[in-house]
Amino acid sequence: MTDALVVSGLSKRFGGLRAVQDLSFTVRENETLALIGPNGAGKTTSFHLITGFHRADTGSVSAFGREIVGLRPHDVCALGLARTFQVAKPFGAMTVLSNVMTGAFLRDRHVGIARDKAREAIAFVGLSRHEATAAKDLTTIDQRRLEMARALATEPRILLLDEVMAGLNPAEIDQAVALVGKLSARGLTIVIVEHVMRAIMAVARHIVVLDHGQKIAEGSPREIVENPEVIRAYLGSGYVHAPGTGDAHA
């Protein structure tokens, strides 16, 4: 199994604020990694750094052995790294189909072929009945599905999902989890930023925890849940028990 994504020593400051400090982690091919942490921990910023929307101050990111720091977002996408945004950014005036076709054009400029690929991606996320709907008329959840379909149309090998489950009810979370499972079954390497514990536990075997821009823990779900640093970051020192006492699973 090769390393799909290697992040090493990644750092970024905005003025006086150290948004991300010396972040390092490795994602193996076809693995699903969850990136978690309290709000403001630097998760979305990490995505911006990895995908080229912000230029890292120091550090390196390599995707399948290829260094990508310094590349513009469109080049990063062309190399096989796609992402969704925390707040969906659909092309409102276009239909769902056109939105996804725009993604498909990266790999093939022929309109007919792009249309077929787009339809496939749309079917995968379950949006087929809204194919002709204007993106701005979709519900928020459907806009997120659209975002995912659009990213999928670029035929990525690595997919970065930013809080796709936020605001979903339990049934919807299950659907989303199943979707992520399907993506993984297709061979995709996935990095998912999430707050919804249930979803994280269901999809990820490998978790990285950030707080104030730094990695404070890394490991399996079980290890993370028992890690005093993680508990301190989320709930404060008052909740940290000595190891071995009290309950210790999600």
Binding site: R72, H74, A78, M94, T95, R109, A132, T154
Partner: protein
């Protein structure tokens, strides 16, 4: 648009447009038609960049002027045919759009617009100053050669009509091809959300640069035509802010980012202008622009998608329709 009667309607329209100069001989009327065709063409050129990709330039007069001056200099100083000069002007404009674009695209939104205004004004200043190559503020007339098709001079207005009609046809067909291709989708994506477009592999800076070049090229062709039509050029006319305004205006009023929008917008605005002129006589420019400004405000406040937006919405209510192409109904 996948409606049954579009093709026959288009054919009918084309037939009328082609035959018009044979039926109408009134010089004033023909002049209006020529103006309509010319400004439709300028609007179509603007629309590629400003309508689809929402890069709202108010400095397209820069390219109009560059085209006009290039062909005129080549003609007056070197006796080269304006047909060649027209292409040369287009190329000059394309090349100029590279540094201008590089500078202006460093700003987003309204500041981009301001930067484009400033560059057009700056070019006007340059041409006002440089008497050596470009006759300075007084400009020049081009020698009247009577009927000289090879030098783009004709005796009848009808011939000018067909030339500019040809230009418009070229502009419309380029727009149509682009709209239906991957580039059309990319342009609209950039116009909607440039960051999201980048995230799915759209090289926004390059696409913006490319569409700017095409837009500049076409606008320059219009500049050459205009000089040939009025036999005169000076910096105030060639780089007139009014041209930049009208280019944007006709597209917005008619339907920004649509194929026929600029044409519809031009028909409305130029007809209004002609009517005003005939009711009020030859007045100060103040009236025309006041009316244009009011129309623009009305469109922005009530129907930002323009007249095409109205048509499109009405069409949506027509049973059995399906939207086609990149854009859904507004």
């Amino acid at each position: 648009m996948a409606v049954r009667w579009t093709i026959p309607a288009l054919l009918l329209l084309s037939a009328i447009v082609l035959v018009l100069p044979q039926l109408v001989h009134n010089a004033f009327a023909l002049d209006i038609f020529i103006r309509i065709l010319l400004f439709s063409f300028i609007g179509v050129a603007w629309n590629l960049m400003g309508g689809y990709a929402r890069q709202l330039s108010l400095g397209h007069a820069a390219y109009f002027g560059l085209g006009a001056y290039t062909s005129t200099i080549m003609q007056v100083d070197f006796s080269i045919s304006p047909w060649i000069g027209m292409i040369a002007g287009g190329i000059v404009a394309m090349l100029a759009s590279l540094p201008i674009g590089w500078l202006c695209f460093r700003l987003r939104g309204p500041y981009f617009t301001i930067a484009t205004i400033a560059t057009a004004q700056a070019l006007m200043l340059v041409f006002l100053k440089f008497r050596d190559i470009a006759w300075g503020a007084e400009g020049t007339t081009i020698p009247n050669l009577g009927s000289s098709p090879l030098m783009m001079q004709f005796e009848t207005k009808a011939s000018y009509y067909y030339v500019v009609l040809g230009l418009l046809a070229i502009g419309l067909s380029i727009t149509y091809r682009i709209e239906k291709s991957w580039m059309g989708y990319y342009l609209v994506a950039i116009g909607e959300d440039e960051d999201a477009a980048e995230a799915i592999g759209v090289n926004a800076p390059r696409i913006k640069r490319d569409i700017y070049m095409i837009s500049a090229f076409l606008t320059a062709l219009a500049g050459t035509f205009y000089v040939q039509y009025i036999y005169f050029i000076d910096p105030a006319t060639a780089f007139s802010f009014n041209i930049s305004i009208e280019a944007a205006l006709v597209s917005i009023v008619g339907g920004i980012g649509t194929l026929w929008g600029p044409v519809i917008g031009t028909v409305l605005l130029e007809t209004t202008s002609a009517l005003l002129q005939s009711w009020l006589g030859s007045t100060t420019g103040g009236v025309q622009l006041t009316v244009y400004a009011m129309i623009l405000m009305a469109v922005i406040l009530w129907r930002p998608t323009g007249l095409m937006g109205l048509v499109s919405e009405a069409w949506q209510r027509y049973p059995g329709r399906k939207p086609a192409g990149a854009r859904a109904a507004p």
